[in-house]
Symmetry: C2
DNA sequence: TCTTCGCGTAAGTCATGACTTACGCGTAAG
DNA sequence: CTTACGCGTAAGTCATGACTTACGCGAAGA
């Protein structure tokens, strides 16, 4: 819940979603990601920082490089929010269905 | 899938998430939302347009006012993306667990 | 019909943030 | 120890977008 606010904004940026798309497959180093993306390496570092602050990824030093991977806890938090949206929406629809006055 | 790209950006903004939070409870008119929020009514209209373009809400004319409600299809699309992230992450962890060389 | 209400849009302002290059630090190699 | 590598951060630029006020349109009431 701590990262809830920035979780959405972290995945809002297109480049960051691409990075995250790669990270869900397997761990990547910063240089690997930068080589794969059309932006500079510092830009990748900045994006990774945002994802890390949002609790979506974690990093681990490995010699000269740094390996990033997805943090399942961050994903779980986002899913919980989305599920709450979903359940409330369904509940609202149920209420609307019980009121014969209004159509959908 | 058409709205997938803008779905995240639509919920990235804090004000828009607040609007969406209200809309999942029940349908609201634009004026009601504006009265509830610390921004002007045109600002609310612009936010609703973004949410509508993202497929997250639908609107319906009701006399002089316009009623907005959540579109379950948009929520489903977001959930599908998130679930895909989740399953891929789990699969990657399973692969990592089968390789005794690296720890988490 | 005239007025009022609710809303969307246009235009302009200002803050946010996504990028760049330059730099500095720790690690591995020679 | 010196060099090269991988990375993070600082500083500055530029585009995006979140807001405002002003305006115009359609619907309901008098």
């Amino acid at each position: 819940m701590t990262y809830a606010k920035s979780g959405w904004t972290a995945l809002a940026d297109s480049t960051r979603r691409t990075i995250f798309d790669l990270l869900v497959e397997r761990p990547w180093s910063v240089g690997e990601l930068a080589h794969r993306l059309p932006v500079s390496r510092p830009a990748v570092s900045q994006h990774l920082k945002v994802l890390k602050d949002a609790g979506l990824v974690v990093d681990r030093p490995a010699g000269k490089q740094r390996i990033y991977r997805v943090d399942p806890a961050g994903l779980t938090a986002l899913r919980a929010e989305l599920d709450l949206f979903w359940s409330k929406t369904l509940a609202a629809y149920k209420v609307a269905a019980e009121q014969p006055s209004e159509e959908l």
